[in-house]
Symmetry: C2
Subunit: 355 residues, 2 copies
């Protein structure tokens, strides 16, 4: 007897390279400790959702040239961010991450650029993703590889929650509490795009140190523990991927309310405050980055006033302190204030994913 062996060195060596940082292989060791009964080396993963828990599911894609830029940043950080943006959605639902599936789009190899060999890039992307997966106790259980015009990572993240938070549930009178920082990712994007392409930055996902704009852009921290801590207390939640104003607008629309935000209370990195002050001197909105910057992956909660103390205590203990930044009101629309005075809305309010 002969043959039957796979004859697809390209695809299979890339899959092996991608799986290695997850300590997996195509043989597909089932990890019972993660509730994985079968996968990823099969057609499907079989998973055990714990009794009493709801399954919480989300999908998000990141693409080269759209959400990351391999000419300027490391594939490790791109892989990290692909998972981070999905875990941020689970965090907003107050769900505990459990499993992920990842579909890779892989462009043709470019023989002149051996450092961009597809299996090498895939392995480096997986390194960043696996780091965050391990830290979040989230197991890779499935995936797909396809030829494509550009690198892409489309992740579906699955989690569990006994009582998931949603955008609906806010009421007039609820207070708005923000966990995380605003504007840093947008400022970091400016820094990134100002760099010459062709000399990508070293990976930052595992680097220690205080938060800075470039890190907020390249490897945002999904606030999973904050979401878990807030789930039993908050009335509604959303993660800020498209800018505070736009995402607050979604929460308001689903909850059937309006909101007033006090800009003086918005938590910003010092570099963001400085950049906004500089732009304001040439006529820009003084909170343009914080209000509409996008990609912050902070969490915005609505909470009944009597539960504010409990929410702030829980967020503090989860390591992601909350800032009260405003309130929900009956009248639709979003109003801005600063120390009691009305502020106009900035002209740009968010991010168009097709723009």
């Amino acid at each position: 007897l002969s043959g039957g062996a796979p004859r697809r060195p390209g695809e299979f060596s890339l899959i092996d390279a991608f799986l290695a940082p997850f300590e997996l292989d195509r043989g597909g060791v089932a990890r019972r400790s993660y509730g994985v009964l079968c996968g990823p080396g099969d057609d499907c993963a079989a998973l055990r959702v714990r009794p009493g828990m709801q399954l919480v599911a989300t999908t998000d894609a990141v693409l080269d040239g759209v959400h990351f830029d391999l000419a300027r940043q490391s594939p490790e950080d791109a892989g990290y961010k692909a998972l981070a943006v999905n875990l941020s959605d689970l965090a907003a639902a107050g769900a505990r991450p459990r499993w992920l599936l990842c579909a890779l789009g892989v462009p043709p190899p470019q023989p002149r650029r051996p450092s961009e060999r597809p299996s090498l890039l895939a392995s480096r992307m997986a390194r960043g993703m696996a780091h965050l997966a391990r830290r979040s106790r989230c197991a890779l259980v499935g995936g797909n590889v396809s030829k494509a015009a550009q690198w892409s990572l489309t992740i579906t993240a699955l989690g569990e929650a006994s009582r998931p938070l949603s955008r609906a549930g806010g009421r007039p009178g609820d207070l708005l509490v923000l966990s995380g920082m605003l504007g840093g990712a947008a400022l970091g994007l400016r820094e990134l795009l100002a760099r010459q392409p062709g000399r990508p930055l070293a990976p930052r996902f595992a680097r220690a140190g205080p938060p800075d704009p470039l890190r907020a852009q390249l490897c945002p921290t999904p606030l999973v523990d904050a979401g878990l801590a807030a789930a039993p207390i908050a009335s509604a939640a959303i993660d800020l991927s498209d800018g505070l104003l736009q995402d607050l607008g979604h929460l308001c629309a689903r909850s059937g309310v309006g909101a007033v935000v006090d800009c003086a209370l918005l938590p910003r990195l010092p570099a963001v405050a400085r950049a906004e002050a500089t732009s304001a001197r040439s006529g820009a909105h003084p909170y343009a980055l914080s209000l509409a910057g996008g990609e912050d992956y902070a969490l915005l909660f609505a909470v009944r006033p009597r539960r504010l103390g409990a929410l702030l205590a829980a967020l503090g203990q989860a390591g992601s302190p909350g800032c009260p930044i405003g309130r929900l009101v009956r009248e639709k629309g979003i109003g801005l204030e600063q120390a009691g005075r009305r502020l106009p809305l900035p002209p740009q309010r968010g991010h168009d994913h097709l723009g």
Copy 2:
């Protein structure tokens, strides 16, 4: 108060267009009858897996120019196939489809081609996908939209099974049973590629009539009922996406066995048998399409000999009769026979997704 309304007409009108065929909107009506507690108009979907059931998950992407070709076929059929290939994976696990998430890659609009307006194409893709989703009682619960260099549909399908089938579990002596037809999709691809680009075919996904190669290529039927019927009886299963030889190789590898296939027993469309006979006259392998054609989305089961009758009866009642085509053996590798005589393996054994 003013503003806060989304200012992304492109993205939101495309999402609306995509959701309409599913009878959904961004308001996100929760469909309790489908076990959907929340979604798709939220960060996450919250889903209820039934007690005693395992969650079965798979992800698969289809891309324009790789898995479908909008210059030659309809967007409806592309959307249909995107879901069909995922449901075929659930079928191989013997799982009941329940939910799907769909990430769309959307290329920039081309002002000169109004018939290719992104929201129109998205709506037409959704029409094909929603048709199959409805028929399979599978609810759209989440998604994502991103700018991309080419159209792509990356679906994660979620199902339930009390005892999922996997590729492992086959033993020497098990019989191989195939449900579905071989080689049609590969022959249909030849037909499709022989057509002039720029005059795409009308949608076929909803057309009645006997199976033919073009339909096998454009809108394969996922054999969900066959998978459900076989789940309590078969010892292992795989769906045939990359060609019988390659996928049987996966089943053998995971089960730690080899296999012998009797080519005279392979179920083929008459057009496939004719095409193989013609090619064989110029020296090609007489079963090249059936053995290595790919994209058949037939199901291959291994079954203990004493349960063969039960499996064939169950498949027949499910409307997808099974053909015994060979057996698993102790010696590794795959051997081919025809009416008791050894046949060589074809030189090409499957499909490289990066090729």
